[in-house]
């Protein structure tokens, strides 16, 4: 099967958000980068699917031309080849721009089963998977925690507020992966060595102008100064009083 894992390079989760001088973006000089948490799960699922049913895993990213280190790691973890659609402004793309660009490439690659993350932990869109599938006219199941493939399709489970939904889908399809679907592997020495010889292709990214216009970025609203109401069990009456009379949540 022709399998693709779409991964995004994002700032590490311990990154601080410092607002740049233009007031509409973040300072990036302090950022360290990683493959988005859920995309590691997507990659793992792609590799496991290949291991179970054969085929090839292409790692696809829209990202900085210089950012091949993280993509190489994906190859060390079992991807067969990688394509970087180079765009230094990849983080500024809105979800529509990313989705349209990925859709064009996935079509061209003849992908049959595509794994993405539930959400990329930078802009928190949680939108690119189902948007891409819609542009392609494909099936899509989001937030998947369990899945099996059958002839021409499969079933996937996703968690909702009410419980666990089972969704039947046809192929080609995009699956967005949630925590719990699998345990991503670490890259072993053998994988790292092998990755050096795997093809990593760089191409220009299609320019799809953004519709989203960012007019400002601000720190989150300051929380008003809190206080320690006391120590141990003796503090409970003071807490109850505060919750009742100040916060009015009791």
């Amino acid at each position: 099967m022709n399998i693709v894992a779409c991964v995004k390079r994002v700032p590490t989760t311990d990154a601080q958000a410092e607002i740049a001088a233009d007031g509409t973006s973040l300072k990036t000089d302090g950022f360290q980068y990683m493959i988005s948490f859920y995309d590691e799960i997507a990659l793992e699922q792609a590799v496991q699917t290949k291991e179970a049913s054969g085929g090839e895993v292409t790692v696809l990213t829209i990202g900085p031309a210089s950012g091949s280190k993280e993509v190489r790691e994906c190859l060390a973890k079992g991807g067969d080849k990688a394509i970087v659609l180079a765009d230094d402004a990849w983080m500024q793309r809105d979800c529509r721009s990313t989705a349209k660009t990925l859709a064009t490439k996935l079509q061209e690659l003849g992908a049959e089963l595509v794994f993405m993350g539930r959400v990329a932990t930078d802009r928190d869109n949680a939108a690119v998977g189902p948007m891409t599938a819609t542009y392609l006219g494909w099936a899509c199941v989001t937030d998947v925690v369990e899945m099996t493939l059958e002839d021409g399709g499969g079933t996937a489970k996703r968690e909702t507020e009410d419980g666990v939904e089972t969704v039947r889908f046809s192929l080609p399809a995009i699956i967005t992966c949630d925590k719990g679907l699998n345990e991503p592997r670490y890259a072993g020495l053998k994988g790292i060595m092998a990755a050096k010889k795997k093809p990593l292709e760089e191409a220009g990214a299609e320019d799809v102008p953004n519709q989203a216009v960012v007019t400002g970025v601000a720190p989150p609203p300051e929380r008003k100064e809190g206080r320690i109401v006391g120590e141990g069990v003796e503090a409970i009456p003071a807490l109850i009083d505060a919750l009742r009379n100040e916060a009015q949540v009791l």
Partner: protein, 317 residues
């Protein structure tokens, strides 16, 4: 005049609170609201939506099983048919799954998990978190239709005395379909929806001690149980309960963090909660920096005593 189409989820004969909040957001931004509903019982719910601020309701009929792609195509048709300049859904499991597809059908971008919506020019402006709430971006769009999802527990439902005109359209076939739902044990509230969240962390020491968290949640009656990643990774609690940057982002009226240190990834998921209470043995724990009220103490002593007090208060009504 602006018109916003809102997808309305419903359960057991009532619209879901998150969907009513989305209607409220549309109304507060000065727009007329057209509700779209699907699934068994949609007709009856549609008929009541006038009192929640909808001017019209469209029921998508013809299929029993829910298909996200078929539903999205039909929603986009409704948006086009009524010339709407907005589409909203709640930032729920269903809304987050549906809205991106509707947006793509309209070839518009999507702004997810909005915490503010206002009229601006012929369209709208929104605010939404980046990096799980470490900063807030103000965004408008050059697309024809503003497509967005509204964060749960942020917007107020609308009051409206009118009645909604109900219309039915037929759904097409889908490429994916829900074949069954394994309902979770009745009464268990979802951490994203619940007005009160009681979360526990590694400070509870043993998985069995989560009973203390469950008992406190039960005493509140309207509370869900949440967890830090440390205890989810340790297998003490299911993934669905994890709060934080790689878990769920929650904004309950009251968030109680027990035995949670307050790592940046955890704070990202809960710092917009209404009131935050922290119970932690260590007076220097970072969680106290965002907490409105803190108790320095041992969870195994403080929590049972607090549960007893809350139960007493709730019993008095």
């Amino acid at each position: 005049m602006s018109t916003i189409v809102v997808f309305v989820e419903h359960t057991e004969g009532s619209p879901r609170r998150g969907s009513l909040e989305a209607i409220g957001a549309a109304r507060a931004a000065g727009a007329d609201c057209v509700a779209v509903l699907s699934g068994p019982g949609a007709d009856a719910v549609a008929a009541t939506l006038g009192t929640n601020g909808a001017a019209r309701a469209v029921v998508l009929a013809g299929r029993d099983a829910y298909s996200p792609d078929a539903t999205a195509a039909a929603c986009a048709d409704v948006v086009k048919e009524c010339g709407a300049n907005g589409f909203l859904a709640a930032s729920s499991a269903c809304g987050r799954d549906l809205a991106p597809r509707v947006a793509a059908h309209l070839d518009c971008t999507l702004l997810t998990d909005c915490i503010e919506l206002s009229a601006e020019g012929d369209g709208f402006a929104i605010k939404r978190p980046w990096l799980a709430g470490k900063c807030i971006a103000a965004v408008t769009t050059s697309g024809d239709v503003l497509c967005a999802t509204t964060r749960l527990n942020v917007f107020q439902p609308a009051e409206g005395g009118g009645s909604a005109e109900v219309q039915t359209v037929t759904l097409g076939e889908g490429k994916a379909e829900v074949v069954s739902v394994d309902a979770k044990s009745s009464g268990a509230l979802d951490v994203k929806e619940a007005p009160v969240v009681i979360s526990g962390g590694r400070g509870l020491k043993e998985p069995e001690h989560f009973k203390l968290i469950e008992e406190l949640a039960a005493a509140f009656g309207n509370a869900a149980v949440g967890a830090s990643r440390a205890v989810v990774d340790a297998g003490w609690r299911p993934h669905s309960e994890q709060v934080g940057q790689t878990g769920k982002t929650v904004s309950p009226q009251l968030y109680v963090a027990i035995g949670i240190s307050g790592a940046i990834q955890h704070l990202a998921g809960m710092r917009t909660s209404g009131t935050i209470v922290a119970i932690n043995k260590d007076a220097d724990a970072p969680i106290f920096k965002v907490a409105d009220y803190g108790i320095v103490g041992d969870a195994s002593e403080v929590v049972p005593a607090l549960t007893e007090e809350i139960a007493k208060i709730k019993a008095q009504g």
